[in-house]
């Protein structure tokens, strides 16, 4: 009716499709996704891939270097390192995923409530957050694990319930600045309620930072599990985890003479953490409409 010419009459593609396209354009993110998928497949099909029992002790081959029989050699107890490495991925990945999911849900919920409602609610939640952050992470986990028992599920829950304050503060900070934005005022002027404003307006604008924090957090929880296992407080032996394999390789003689015991789990931890971070990076860009082009 006025000056607007139909410069581009073709209908723009649906948002979801554009996000997918943007993600696929991010090369490192695609590589990261492939690596994560492979790791998941390895964990799921561990019995097929490992070929051997990770608990079985082969007394004829103690501390054996890599060979055709044991492709990554054996440890001091004669257990196959490759089999242990493969089975360990189950523990490390599931601890990472579950613990970080707990942390993300708890952190985002509390952060959103604190940031949106402000006032006394905000002060209360933030003081709790500060308190949790004050405690040295490992000491709480050690205490709690000592109280509730050393099992895989307890470890997941404990790490998850300790790791949320970072995400909580991040989300609160984002909410504090976003809720003053004019588009939130516009939504309120339309008659939108608190829930709608949080879900439709504020959270989508925090997706980037939350994804990044969550993927970094996942890397962090995998490392926390590793250090817990390293201290002998992680997943109870003889069940293998990457951290535990590193623990068992602590001796100087092993470090110097049997690199097949510590290099593979070290590489696996590094690879996983890196891959997950790349995926997070790609997701952040994919969710941001401003990064998308046609």
């Amino acid at each position: 009716m006025t000056e607007m010419k139909l410069t581009d009459a073709a209908e723009a593609p649906r948002p979801r499709r554009r996000s997918r396209r943007q993600f696929l354009r991010h090369r490192l993110a695609v590589i990261g996704t492939v690596v994560v998928l492979i790791l998941i497949l390895v964990a799921v099909f561990a019995p097929v891939i490992a070929r051997k029992d990770p608990m079985y002790q082969d007394y004829s081959a103690l501390k054996a270097p890599p060979s055709s029989e044991h492709i990554l050699g054996t440890d001091a107890l004669g257990r196959d390192v490759w089999a242990r490495l493969v089975y360990a991925s189950r523990v490390s990945l599931s601890v990472g995923f579950v613990a970080v999911s707990i942390a993300a849900v708890v952190g985002t919920t509390l952060g959103a409530v604190a940031g949106y409602y402000g006032g006394a609610v905000d002060s209360t939640i933030m003081r709790i957050t500060d308190t949790v952050m004050c405690f040295p992470l490992l000491i709480i986990i050690i205490t709690v694990v000592a109280m509730v028992g050393q099992s895989l599920y307890n470890i997941m829950a404990v790490i998850g319930l300790i790791a949320w304050p970072g995400i909580c503060r991040l989300v609160r900070g984002q909410f504090l600045s976003l809720r003053e934005q004019e588009f939130v005022t516009a939504a309120r002027a339309l008659g939108a309620g608190g829930g709608r404003i949080i879900w439709r307006h504020l959270l989508p604008n925090c997706i980037g930072p939350i994804t990044v924090a969550t993927t970094f957090g996942m890397a962090g929880t995998i490392l926390t599990e590793a250090s817990l296992s390293f201290l002998g407080l992680g997943v109870p032996p003889p069940q293998p985890s990457w951290g535990q394999m590193l623990t068992e390789a602590q001796k100087l003689s092993i470090l110097a003479e049997m690199p097949w015991l510590w290099i593979p789990p070290g590489i696996m931890i590094g690879l996983t953490v890196l891959a997950v971070n790349f995926v997070g990076d790609g997701l952040r860009d994919a969710f941001d409409p401003r990064m998308q082009s046609n």
Partner: protein, 339 residues
């Protein structure tokens, strides 16, 4: 002419104070009196212009009227219903009938939502339409504001300032409101685009029988679009009358000073024209002066001006003015002549 259609909104003694808090305990140590007792009517189908310099409280009036800010005191009667007294639930349904267009088209659209999502949101919130019906309504609205209906899946950042402002207008129109508060809708636009948006607003007003409260500081634009104009200074209305009356016969010294600042598009006249330069700055709304708010800068200030606060009274038919001198002598002459 507009009065024949009756009053849509009556604002009575509206006040909005923002508390100033200090110290660890956040004690209230004072107030910023952004709006300090404002009274006016808006007639159905008219455009009421609201002008004033930065910090005069014009935006706060607009937002408090819609209860985007909680009023400190006073009432806002929308067809007799006092918005200031409504519960938040009652208010939510009343919001269908009054909308707002914002100054900054970059900040007022959610960057994560598509145009379809933004314009369709009011329909969703009030459960007016959904699915295919909603989609069609959104496309109809986009066409109405001069945008390509195929834009529904695009994001705000893909548009220019003028186009974004049109999206904001489409959103405000979605529920067929009676009143739209235009909060400096053209101030952040390019001059060439300003005219387009103003023309669009005028066209829509005629077509949909809209009532506007048009907030602006561009006096020429206000003169173009308004039926009546209210002049604000430091949280109070100084003068309120028909557009032509205000521009041709400004009574209040502040209005005269304000109008003398408008440049005249004729170099010969502009050269000779006498401008009234006010001394000093606008006082802080946290500590407004005693008596008349304008008394600290008024060129013709008298004793009474610093003693008593002038009331906004009807000095001629439909011409309201808050000034002691005008009240007594009919006009306060500060040497302003209409160019």
């Amino acid at each position: 002419m507009a009065e024949k259609n009756g009053v849509l909104v009556q604002v009575r003694e509206l006040k909005k104070y923002f508390p100033i808090r200090r110290g660890v305990l956040q004690r209230r140590v004072g107030d910023v009196k952004a709006v300090d007792g404002v009274t006016f009517n808006i007639f159905r189908g008219e455009t009421l212009g609201l002008v004033g310099e930065s910090g005069s409280g014009k935006t706060t009036v607009g937002r408090t009227m819609l209860r985007l800010y909680e009023p400190t005191a006073g009432s806002i009667l929308f067809e007799g219903l006092d918005l200031a007294q409504l519960s938040s639930r009652e208010l939510r349904s009343t919001r269908q009938r009054m909308q707002i267009i914002f100054q900054d088209p970059y900040a007022s659209l959610n960057p994560r939502m598509t145009v379809g999502g933004i314009v369709g949101e009011p329909l969703e919130v009030h459960r007016v339409a959904r699915g295919k019906e909603k989609r069609e309504r959104v496309q109809e609205l986009l066409r109405l504001v001069g945008l390509n209906p195929y834009f529904v899946n695009r994001y705000p950042h893909e548009f220019s300032g003028g186009q974004r402002q049109r999206i904001g207008i489409a959103r405000a129109l979605a529920l067929n409101p009676d009143l739209i508060v235009c909060d400096e809708p053209i101030s952040s636009l390019d001059v060439s685009i300003q005219a387009q948006v103003v023309n669009l607003l005028e066209e829509l007003q005629g077509r949909m029988n809209l009532t506007y409260l048009f907030i602006a500081h561009d006096l020429s634009m206000v003169r173009h679009i308004s039926d009546r104009v209210a002049v604000m200074y430091l949280g109070k209305i100084m003068e309120l009358t028909d557009r032509d009356e205000l521009y041709l016969n400004p009574l209040n010294p502040y209005t005269q000073a304000l109008l003398s600042a408008v440049p005249v598009p004729d170099p010969v006249v502009e050269e000779k024209r006498r401008r009234i330069i006010l001394e000093g700055d606008i006082p802080s709304p946290a500590t407004p002066p005693d008596g008349c708010n304008f008394s600290t800068r008024c060129p013709v200030v008298r004793d009474i001006c610093v003693e008593a606060d002038p009331e906004l009274i009807e000095v001629a038919s439909g011409h309201f003015c808050a000034c002691h001198i005008v009240e007594r002598e009919g006009r306060a002459d500060i040497g302003y002549t209409v160019a």
